[in-house]
């Protein structure tokens, strides 16, 4: 008897998971088209309340769609318009929950064997099949422990083994590293990467940590308020963020404006102080025309106590609104006609006597800016 669900190989060109998730929860509406080919790991990234958990619950069958469809391996799991609905226990979908939800009354081995037993294997056979999975996550000698005797990182690995053991066509991971401390997270992330790469099915990783997404995923889907705001590979997204949230994730200053050659007229930032009513112009390295984004790194912003002299630059006067540690440097938020983050050394900060409220001049070389079309 096999304990795994039969997953027919998908026809060429058809993604393993093909879904349009439309769901309502109170006043919140999720509308997310999502397709994942076999073997691909997609990271779903978004701020709190953006619909990440709703997405996981809809795919797992814990929350019915209000419209749209979920097709997995050629089978329709949920399609309200056709009155199609598959119960969670009949879906070839497994979930690694944020706090793992290991069954506290079962041993580690029986936790991993749980799904196999539910799919028809007898007690002994299920344990036999579960052992290699436990070994694969390096916890063979913990088989007889109870979950409460495990560390956070070990519990995470057991949860992963429990989910992978049923050979799911779709593996869902809901913030799998969020409950771990920084050091454990580093080790577990590397190990998780190994297992996700080996998983033949589709994988959706939900996270709010950009590092998890960049390390673990082949492709990133970023949602805000229930909708996709940006989608693509890590390199594209880190180089060309399209919303403030994404820019903050990847640590860039981001502005939207109207380009005319090497000059971009910015939209006034909502939080901008004095001079916001006057259009602010940035000189850029790239030539564009029309609606564009302009991005530059905080380290590219130089701060001066007086108006700097010299080569043509983007220079503006502003007020320091906050100073925070950022790695070895300090990150200074400067309000003005545009708001910008600047990374400077502690020595420079001491020299400038920077405190919130200080008046400074900010400068960015045109060569440090990147400009790309805003598109739709």
């Amino acid at each position: 008897m096999t304990a795994s669900l039969p997953v027919p190989p998908p026809a060429a060109g058809v993604p393993l998971l093909d879904a349009r998730l439309i769901a309502h929860r109170g006043g919140f509406r999720l509308d997310l088209p999502l397709s994942i080919p076999a073997g691909e790991v997609v990271a779903l990234l978004g701020p709190n309340g953006s619909g990440k958990t709703t997405t996981v619950r809809a795919l797992a069958g814990l929350l019915p769609l209000t419209a749209g469809h979920i097709r997995l391996a050629g089978t329709t799991l949920d399609e309200p318009a056709q009155r199609r609905w598959t119960r969670p226990e009949q879906r070839p979908v497994a979930v690694v929950f944020q706090d793992y939800l290991l069954f506290p009354h079962l041993s580690v081995l029986d936790n991993v064997a749980f799904g196999l037993r539910c799919r028809g294997a007898g007690r002994r056979r299920a344990r036999e099949l579960a052992r290699p999975w436990l070994a694969r996550v390096g916890l063979a000698e913990y088989a007889d422990r109870k979950p409460r005797q495990l560390s956070g990182g070990q519990a995470q690995r057991v949860a992963l083994a429990r989910a992978l053991a049923v050979n799911p066509a779709l593996l869902l991971l809901d913030e799998p590293l969020a409950a771990l401390d920084a050091r454990t997270r580093l080790e577990t992330r590397a190990e998780l990467h190994r297992h996700l790469s080996a998983h033949p099915g589709a994988t959706l990783l939900v996270t709010h940590d950009p590092l998890d997404a960049l390390v673990l995923a082949d492709r990133l889907v970023i949602i805000e308020d229930g909708r996709i705001v940006q989608e693509g590979d890590a390199a594209t997204i880190t180089a060309q963020p399209r919303t403030d949230y994404v820019a903050k994730l990847v640590g860039l200053n981001l502005y939207r404006g109207w380009a005319d050659g090497h000059s971009v007229t910015l939209r006034p930032a909502p939080a901008a102080g004095a001079g916001a009513d006057r259009p602010f112009r940035l000189t850029t390295a790239d030539q564009h025309h029309g609606e564009v984004f302009v991005a530059f790194r905080p380290a590219a912003v130089a701060l001066y106590p007086n108006p700097p002299e010299g080569s043509p630059r983007n220079v503006w006067a502003g007020t320091v609104s906050s100073v925070q540690r950022h790695g070895d440097n300090l990150r200074v938020q400067v309000d003005g006609p545009v708001t910008a983050a600047a990374d400077i050394t502690p020595a420079a900060a001491a020299q400038l006597r920077l405190v919130p409220g200080s008046q400074v001049w900010a400068a960015v070389k045109a060569a440090e800016t990147r400009t790309y079309p805003a598109g739709s």
């Binding site: 069958g61 814990l62 226990e89 879906r91 979930v95 929950f97 429990r162």
Partner: protein, 282 residues
């Protein structure tokens, strides 16, 4: 570090700062006196029972055939009633806790009726349904030749009738307090609702089920009114300990005291085990 500098946040280890200025400061006399009176009111009758116990003739009385018979019947009937309560009450509690159906509020109210109903009324009601002329009783007799009233089965039914609400309420409370996400995790692993109930929910609410069962068992053990109405008072068949106590009181007070002492000991043992359950419950 000097004592004067030590004004950081209060330390979490060690004892809280002593604030005693004379014993009982802040406890009003108007509460202490009735509290002590209440305690005495509860404890004195039990003490009286112990004081009046004929300790010298105790072993002989315990071995008396009627006593052993009544105790055996009581323990058997209470246990059987508890099993019946578990078989029917746990699913009922699950239904009330997990399924939204029209009229669930009414059902919940109905379940608790036996809690407030005088047991004698419960006995009369059982007679009207299961009696030889009762709605179900007539059918049972004609179809199976089964007569329930004034049998040991009647004792079990009467006890289950009064004890079931205790179990249902305890288990429903435990189910509502249990984290439902474990059931969801089980579902994503392929467990249907029955499997999830059996392998995840029941172990999760195990302490609640145990507490409910113990409460139901204790209530069944002490049942008097419904039993004597529905099952009568036949030694060896339907005469349980409480009935034997009542009967003995009219002829042999010492015998009644001994029987009462046994019930008291059993109750205290149950209470002690229950307290441990509650304290250990996660």
């Amino acid at each position: 570090m000097s004592v004067l500098e030590d004004q950081g946040p209060p330390r979490r280890t060690g004892r809280p700062p002593a604030r005693r200025r004379g014993t009982g400061s802040g406890v009003p006399l108007a509460l202490v006196v009735p509290a002590l009176l209440g305690l005495g009111f509860l404890v004195l009758p039990l003490a009286g029972l112990l004081i009046r116990t004929p300790w010298s003739s105790l072993p002989a009385r315990l071995a008396a055939p009627g006593v052993v018979e009544a105790l055996r019947l009581s323990l058997f009937a209470a246990t059987a009633a508890t099993v019946l309560c578990l078989l029917l009450g746990v699913p009922l509690a699950w239904l009330l806790a997990r399924v939204d159906f029209p009229g669930s509020g009414l059902v919940r109210a109905l379940v608790t009726v036996p809690l407030v109903l005088p047991p004698v009324v419960g006995g009369v009601a059982l007679l009207l349904v299961f009696g030889r002329r009762g709605i179900i009783g007539v059918w049972l007799e004609s179809a199976f030749g089964l007569t329930i009233p004034f049998t040991t089965l009647a004792v079990i039914l009467a006890e289950a009738f009064v004890a079931m609400p205790f179990l249902v309420i305890a288990v429903e409370g435990a189910l509502r307090g249990a984290d439902r996400r474990y059931e969801e995790a089980a579902a994503t692993l392929g467990a249907g609702r029955w499997t999830a109930f059996r392998r995840v929910t029941v172990p999760q609410v195990g302490p609640g089920i145990a507490a409910g069962a113990v409460l139901a068992w204790a209530r069944a053990l002490g049942e008097f009114g419904a039993t004597i109405t529905f099952a009568g008072n036949f030694p060896g068949r339907t005469q349980t300990m409480p009935l034997a106590v009542y009967l003995a009181l009219e002829t042999d007070v010492d015998a009644a005291i001994v029987l009462s002492l046994i019930l008291l000991v059993v109750s205290v043992v149950i209470l002690a085990s229950l307290r441990r359950r509650w304290i250990n419950a996660p």
